[in-house]
Subunit: 498 residues, 2 copies
């Protein structure tokens, strides 16, 4: 198989799953060719991509690669020709999927991998009629595909084991967590659990024990919070306490025989029952549109992923690894061709996040220093402070900061930071940041900072290594001819001096 970097990926089907795949691929810098005959497919995929961009903008300040290009293709043939990977995301119907896979094979390269996003159909059935069945596997993602890391990988009887490994490496490069199944089974693993919850939930609503809102609340305010961290087995291990898993099983084993489930059967989906669910669901959603609900879901997932990144656990560890990779790619590939080094540099941009707003309705003061800190990191990266430099035992620390708050940025508005090198010597950098509104150019705040180059092992200051030093000196000499900001070097004092 070719590397993803060498060619585009074809996505067949532009619904919630196909659109989600497209968004994840594009944000990872991969070109996508999508085919979906639905007249609204183009609009829907673009809206989903906008949601995904919005989520990633607030998920990370790591430098994403240049976005891949998205093209809509009028036929399967057009989409798959020359694609290195083909992701099938059509409705859950075996005959339909088999027909589409045959069409895909007509025009795809014989070594292009083919993944099916089926929620539960068996890969052995999907591949049974294929010319090159060894490159077909199930690649089952979860909605929203651009945020949730899990992808279940399941091969059929004819799938080559190397194909599973290739696919796993590929999805890891997209920031995902591939889970290879040991055995082929209907519904794979996660959907069997979801289906169990779903069938029980339908019964309880059917029997008027609870409303759809009660059922959802019974999960999201309690045990649902734990499932972002751990599955049943680890949760119950903890619940068992010091006596261990065997004790837990002995204690709660009897409950397995109690009438805690109606799953021996499923309720009939009569019109009356469907009406009940639909109307209770409308009530639960209130006036929130699907688009608004998606954004609430995405904001929540972003917050959870950021939180889990902080504790380096589960999906947060996957995300942390991806973010580290993004920074490394950026430092390796950073080219600032268009930068005019005779002017203050714009090396950091962003937007004011709703979560930065304090009880006064204004950006919390520490966020200003966070923005200036990010801008300082961007400058240091530009000057050559990369992972290798850090690993060699040297770094640059801020020893002093002076922030002036001048104006307020509105939540959601874009900002830029302009950075001027005021001075420096072989150990120090004296820098000046201006935080400006991107559109109006209003000056929100200034940051004046003194940075010190340190030997991190000896924990003391020392002369910069040659490449950092020479780049710094070069920029300093260019910036020496710039006008010095009037407020630079000021101290804090009352006007009257009292």
């Amino acid at each position: 198989m070719h590397s993803l970097k060498q060619g585009p990926v074809a996505v067949i089907g532009g619904g919630v799953i196909g659109g989600g795949w497209a968004a994840r691929l594009l944000l990872n810098g991969i070109d996508v060719r999508i085919h979906d005959p639905h007249p609204e497919a183009g609009r829907r995929v673009r809206e989903m991509l906008a949601n995904a961009e919005r989520a990633w903008e607030s998920l990370t300040s790591a430098p994403l690669p240049a976005k891949g290009s998205l093209s809509f293709c009028g036929s399967i043939a057009e989409a798959v020709e020359g694609s290195v990977f083909i992701e099938e995301c059509t409705p859950e119907n075996l005959e339909l999927k088999q027909r589409i896979l045959a069409e895909v094979e007509n025009d795809a390269a014989s070594d292009a991998l083919i993944g099916s996003s089926t929620s539960g159909l068996l890969p052995s059935d999907l591949q049974s009629e294929m010319k090159h069945p060894e490159r077909l596997l199930v690649t089952h993602p979860f909605n929203p595909v651009y945020l949730l890391p899990l992808v279940e990988l399941c091969g059929g009887l004819l799938t080559s084991p190397e194909v599973l490994d290739q696919a796993a490496a590929l999805f890891e490069s997209l920031g995902m967590r591939p889970l290879k199944l040991k055995k082929e089974i209907d519904g794979f693993l996660a959907d069997r659990l979801l289906e169990a919850i779903w069938r029980e939930s339908l019964w309880l609503v059917h029997d008027d024990v609870a409303s759809v809102e009660d059922m959802d609340d019974a999960f999201r305010f309690g045990p649902g919070l734990r499932f972002a961290l751990m599955g049943s087995f680890l949760i119950y291990r903890i619940a068992g306490g010091e006596e261990g898993m065997r004790h837990f099983m002995a204690q709660f084993g009897p409950a397995l025989k109690w009438p805690w489930t109606k799953l021996m059967d499923v309720p009939e989906l009569t019109d009356t029952f469907l009406d009940k669910i639909a109307s209770q669901s409308d009530e639960q959603a209130g006036n929130l549109s699907i688009r608004e609900l998606e954004q609430i879901r995405d904001d929540g997932l972003v917050a959870i992923l950021q939180g889990l990144k902080g504790v380096d656990w589960g999906a947060g560890s996957v995300f942390r690894k991806q973010e580290k990779q993004l920074f490394e790619n950026f430092h390796q590939n950073a080219v600032h061709k268009d930068l005019d080094e005779t002017q203050p540099l714009v090396l950091h941009r962003g937007w004011i996040r709703p979560s930065w707003i304090d009880y006064n309705g204004h950006m919390t003061e520490s966020r200003y220093l966070q923005v200036f800190g990010d801008a300082t990191d961007a400058l240091l990266g530009y000057l050559g402070l990369d992972q290798e430099y850090l690993d060699s035992g040297f770094s640059v620390f801020t020893v002093e900061s002076h922030i002036r708050h001048l104006d307020e940025g509105a939540p959601g508005s874009n900002f830029v930071v302009k950075t001027q090198l005021l001075g420096g010597d072989e150990k120090r950098l004296h820098i000046w940041h201006e935080l400006l509104d991107q559109e109006s150019g209003s000056l929100f705040a200034t940051g004046e900072h003194m940075l010190l180059h340190v030997d991190t092992r000896a924990a003391k200051s020392c002369t910069m290594q040659s490449r950092l030093l020479s780049k710094s000196q070069q920029l300093r000499s260019l910036h020496q001819s710039l006008k010095r900001p009037e407020a630079a070097g000021r101290s804090i004092a009352l006007p009257s001096g009292n």
Copy 2:
């Protein structure tokens, strides 16, 4: 019923659930009397309380009330006498619980509420032999009780409806989310869903389709992340997209008839099967002890709750409301009797959170300003800037900050901030913070800040309102005799001036 503030709560049973209740109650300032004949109960409850304190310390910087006092009682009689609420947390055995409830009634006030933490027994059965059955209800919490907000409330045939309302109000005051059940049912709502997942999971491990780790990973890297936000119904509404819930049901209805579950039966808990689960569980947990797993779980839940607070959704909204209440209580009750106003004031304390540490292994620079910002808020609160003052259209903003980074605090170490009022006039406060290690007294950083009093509607500076002004002037005159910090008023400059 008496208010919780008037009297202690009795907790009968000091296991994972009883200890968790005790911790939540104590952290909310309520005295707890616990009874458990197990010889290790005292140690276990104290360890759980330590975990809970640790979690709450990092969950919020809101001022918690003075902790309640914890006493261990040798008998049920001693624990319940004079208690306004009794929480029963004994093993899941109807006869045992009935016997304990009879003993509770012997010595409890006749109007004391009695809650049972049973996971699935029916309240009608629990209360059938009671003298005052109308005050018995199920209050089913989730582990860890001190962090998860859900409590299912379920009355039996003889439970008084007012008792359910009283209990709901009470649990809300503890930062919880009570969910009143419409109908009595075995397992209530959440445990029926958990049981469905659990039964299916046991089958898949039993049949060697997956390991316990596979099963957990299939949830926590994918759909489990969503369950911290939404339940199945809202998730599927979104998955259905623009066509709505009916369309979703039509699309996925057929799958209900597919063989996606083995829940028609449960596997026999043979020794071989129990061995398999126990050994796979050991492997999954690696070298992590139960205590370590609990802390990982708690750190993750804290991060999730903080994240959800930021987006004001689900459990995050419950927590946000509680935090707001904590601040209001604090401002209403703030008495700083022991403060010596002739010295710099210690109004803010905390500890360096692991999440504050950057890639250099040091506290991220913006966290220093966050700490100083919190200390500034504490000073302003002390001087009289409360919610009422803010609501009247006035506030105090930081217009300038000067941070000096002098030393590094270790992650986990406690800090204090000492605050000196350097000067001020009728519109301004010029303050000086010192961030110190609580134990060693090492000075980590200093913060010099200029604050401006503003009319928030007119968006310009103005004279302070009288009570804030007089308190500020009083403190300023006391602090005038203090030594002025040498570094106050300094500007940022290179030593050589280049």
